[in-house]
């Protein structure tokens, strides 16, 4: 915890570190109330619908937890890449490609092996997802290093490519499509599905996010690799001057962040049981950027931030159903929150634009 507090991008003003999340939360609530009012609805009843949809029952809690676990994995990936000074915004595509490779392997010649050795399937498919996600992400990393292609445009394009590509896979009968239904893959074998819980989105893999989060936290703040990563993001020239292999660190950051997204994609596939035309959690790859930024790019803070956004997501769907306020309000909040974080300033972004603070230089 201590090293986290001494991180160079923490605020310098007293109490700022605790005031800021509180102010964000209060501001978000005020914004929600204001928008609901502008829509001609009663803020109190709309907000209580939102609360009930997110935390009001065991089922709602389970759904919120399932969504938060996806967001945690995506946001940790965003965090790793942003901390290294590369903006990988491609979780959306990387998770899709991860799910697609996992699905392909699930229906491959290995099928009899999965049936015979029940413990083999799920870990292998998760690894396949992580591998595909890392590969998809590394395309952007390699293009940046080899051709100077801005990674944000590359990952954005790879998102759109990945989404269309997977849609093509599940709508082509020769490939992954279940020919007896509308475009989607057949159901995975029973041994390959994660046990769920009733009609909720909860599944046995939800809590896998927690060990991943702890590992990222420890690695980032206690291991040399994590130090290299942070130094690279805060001041690449200084890092290079101190013998840190900046290019390798950044390429690894691409790979790991993509692997996390692909892992999450494969996990969602195993929980859902089949590959659909569209992602199970659409736009969560982008929402994760808001989560990571609100968390100040700190792994431990990602957990509460992810729970908040997952609650907002689950609650807003309930709010649309009962209080007549559109689900799109979630996007409005996301946009405002990201802009607020940007105005406040993010150390890594300052380094990217050549504005390196004295604190950052001292750290590197």
């Amino acid at each position: 915890m201590n090293s986290e507090h001494r991180a160079p991008d923490s605020t310098t003003e007293p109490f700022g570190e605790y005031l800021w999340p509180a102010a964000m939360l209060l501001g978000t609530l005020l914004l929600l109330a204001l928008v609901v009012r502008l829509c001609g609805q009663n803020p109190a009843s709309a907000l209580s619908a939102l609360w009930n949809g997110a935390f009001g029952s065991i089922g709602a809690l389970a759904t919120t937890a399932a969504r938060a676990s996806v967001l945690v994995l995506y946001a940790l990936g965003v965090l790793i890449s942003f901390r290294a000074g590369v903006l990988n915004i491609g979780a959306e595509g990387q998770s899709r490609v991860g799910a697609a490779l996992a699905c392909t392997v699930a229906f491959s010649a290995l099928q009899p092996a999965f049936a015979k050795v029940p413990w083999l399937g799920i870990p292998l498919l998760l690894l396949c997802g992580a591998f595909a996600g890392a590969t998809w992400s590394l395309i952007a990393g390699i293009l940046r290093w080899w051709r100077g292609v801005p990674e944000v445009i590359a990952t954005l394009m790879l998102n759109l490519i990945g989404l269309s590509f997977v849609r093509w896979l599940v709508s082509s009968p020769d490939l992954l499509r279940d020919v007896s239904s509308f475009p989607r893959s057949p159901l995975l074998a029973d041994a390959l599905q994660l046990p769920g819980w009733g009609i909720t989105e909860f599944h046995s893999g939800v809590f896998l996010s927690l060990p991943v989060l702890i590992v990222v936290q420890l690695w980032l703040f206690k291991m040399p690799g994590g130090f290299f990563l942070r130094a690279t993001g805060l001041n690449p020239p200084a890092a290079r001057a101190n013998g840190i292999p900046v290019v390798r660190v950044q390429l690894l950051a691409f790979a790991w962040s993509g692997a996390l997204a692909g892992f999450a994609g494969a996990l969602a596939l195993l929980a859902r049981g089949r590959l659909d035309q569209d992602p199970t959690y659409p736009d969560f790859g982008y929402m994760a950027i808001a989560v990571a930024l609100v968390a100040g790019l700190r792994p431990l803070a990602v957990l509460p931030a992810a729970i908040l956004f997952a609650a907002l997501d689950a609650g807003a769907k309930a709010m649309q159903a009962t209080a007549g306020v559109s689900y799109w309000i979630v996007y409005l909040v996301q946009g405002v929150v990201i802009l607020a974080v940007l105005v406040r300033g993010v150390a890594v972004f300052r380094a990217r634009s050549g504005k390196v603070s004295a604190a950052a230089e001292a750290a590197a």
């Binding site: 001609g40 903006l87 801005p150 445009i153 559109s326 409005l332 634009s353």
Partner: protein
């Protein structure tokens, strides 16, 4: 290829072209906005809203431009005043537009049932079937004509005029431009607003010239295609126009022959693959301004 195909391709290319030209001016001034999708979406919604309420597509077009400009003013404050990261701000702009248009759409139009806005009529319906000029001009609306006229105008402005030279200097080397007496931030502010106006008009085209109705997220990634067109067009007005017509033709092919030889989903990813390829090819350079995406700090 028949006349109807030409007419349709040009119609599909128009919103892309309007948005791409705005983005081109902005990027040549050294600012990149991946929120052009959001700008188009807000133009589409508010253009539709104003056209529906007033019954005049002209007022709709004005409202679309205004909405785009307003959104870009927010963007300007974030990236010019606070010098924040342009990419992340652009992404936030997309969220903001999705959120505003989505919530407002449910609140304002849902209760009214399925509403239709007033739309632009073709320039001259009687001459629509004239050879060449029919599909290229008379069968199109005033907005397509505007987009086509803007191509040479923006080319002239960027490449031949003194103001355009200043703008390019701001994009290539803002410090040197400032030293020679150009107000970098003012120039970028103007480019932001221009991109908002054109992007908003491009979005409005979708609702008040093409469909007369509005659906949530109806721009459906066209802003990203426009972004792709700027890169693929090597940051020139003519190049943008060529890229937009090419994308228009590929989307036309997708819609005209559904489910046959051209898989819809593969055509959809074509612009993005081509953009990546275009970004990789370095013929001298890929034409991007040197200071693209870097905030200017005095």
């Amino acid at each position: 290829m028949n006349d109807a195909a030409f007419e349709a391709i040009l119609r599909i290319a128009t919103p892309l072209l309007l948005a791409a030209l705005g983005e081109l001016v902005l990027e040549r001034a050294g600012v990149i906005n991946i929120g052009i999708e959001g700008v188009m979406l807000s133009g589409a919604f508010f253009g539709f809203l104003a056209s529906w309420q007033s019954g005049s597509p002209l007022i709709g077009a004005a409202a679309g431009m205004l909405a785009g400009a307003a959104l870009m003013a927010v963007f300007g404050v974030i990236v010019l005043k606070f010098a924040a990261d342009q990419i992340v701000a652009g992404m936030a702009l997309n969220f903001l537009a999705l959120g505003i248009t989505g919530t407002a759409n449910l609140a304002l139009t849902q209760s009214a049932g399925r509403v239709q806005s007033a739309v632009f009529a073709p320039l001259n319906d009687a001459w629509r079937h004239a050879p060449v000029l029919g599909p290229l001009l008379f069968g199109q609306t005033a907005l397509t004509l505007t987009a086509l006229l803007l191509v040479p105008l923006i080319w002239f402005y960027l490449e031949k005029s003194e103001r355009g030279l200043e703008l390019r200097a701001v994009g290539e080397n803002p410090a040197a431009a400032e030293a020679s007496g150009v107000y970098v931030l003012l120039c970028r502010w103007k480019a932001c607003i221009a991109a908002g106006v054109l992007g908003g008009l491009g979005g409005a085209f979708l609702t008040i010239s093409q469909t007369a109705s509005y659906a949530d997220n109806c721009t459906h990634g066209r802003g990203f295609v426009a972004l792709a067109a700027v890169v693929l067009g090597r940051y020139s007005a003519w190049g943008c126009a060529a890229a937009c017509v090419f994308f228009g033709a590929s989307f036309y092919a997708r819609d005209a022959f559904p489910g046959t030889r051209v898989p819809t989903d593969l055509v959809e990813l074509l612009p993005y693959v081509l953009t990546l390829v275009a970004l990789c090819i370095k013929f001298r350079s890929n034409g991007a301004p040197a200071a693209l995406g870097k905030p200017y700090l005095r």
